[in-house]
């Protein structure tokens, strides 16, 4: 699953702990932790389940695997309990390893939204890209998340530069 493993350090714990809902496990459940990683092996079915949960169209796993292999950065976000870990967020970036990186497929599981975890995921992603000396981080934002990215410091159409798409027939 790829060469980005060699580029970054191993998993990082979230520096500012985020309070997570206990999912009704009661008093015996240990406090779950949120962990970010750029080098954990991903189960493609677990990733598909995460993308299903936010209503994305299914994509062939063969192509998903290829896209992960050829992404510059693959970030995963996990809820960790003593007994199990669960994939709750994901983002990746393509890049020329020098000037430009483009972030794709940012997702946070609906049960974990509105807790600051999307922001934490993006900050972690930006930090990793900055550490690789990327000059310019770009993305294409759906209308409902433009404000979210703006608050993170992304500029909309700077100097009139416009995002454009071409879809094969």
């Amino acid at each position: 699953m790829g060469f980005w493993k060699s580029l970054f350090s191993t998993s990082d714990r979230l520096s500012a702990p985020v309070k997570i809902q206990q999912e009704g496990r009661g008093a015996i459940a240990a406090e779950p932790r949120i962990v970010f990683s750029v080098d954990r092996e991903l189960d493609l079915y677990e990733l598909e389940e995460l993308c299903d949960a936010v209503g994305w169209s299914r994509r062939p796993l063969r192509k998903v695997r290829k896209a992960l292999q050829h992404s510059f950065l693959v970030v995963s976000m996990w809820e960790e309990r003593p007994a199990r870990r669960r994939l709750i967020g994901f983002a990746r970036a393509t890049s020329d390893h020098a000037f430009n990186a483009t972030i794709w497929d940012v997702v946070v599981h609906p049960q974990f939204q509105n807790k600051g975890l999307g922001k934490a995921l993006m900050k972690y992603t930006i930090k990793k890209l900055k550490s690789e000396d990327i000059s310019n981080i770009t993305l294409f934002a759906d209308p409902q998340v433009v404000e979210f990215y703006r608050r993170l410091g992304f500029l909309l159409d700077p100097e009139g530069i416009k995002g454009m798409f071409w879809y094969p027939d």
Copy 2:
């Protein structure tokens, strides 16, 4: 200079010949041809000269080399005469090799602009990306070239999707 060499076939001649100014070489000059390639070795100084000609800021050659090595596709456009070839256009794309490709650094030498060569360069680039089964071709267009890309079939902010940029401090 890179793995994209293995991905595509060798140089293609422009199917519809483009009339090129003869640069005052007189009657003995053979008709120059325009040739496109995805696998020709590029002289970084010649590429820098081309980018200088359109007024781009200089970039460290070390980073340019790295960016070319890690681009999915590097397209060059050449004017060929019997005695010499000259780099007159360039474009490249980053990609995850599966879903998304993003086109960067599209340039045509000023002496060769307004002859349909920018359009030919982009059509060639799109054809190559299509042949690799890329689902989605994107780019970030400066205001003065939005119309150019629109005429090529690129959509501006489709479904309200917005291009956003984050510049490291």
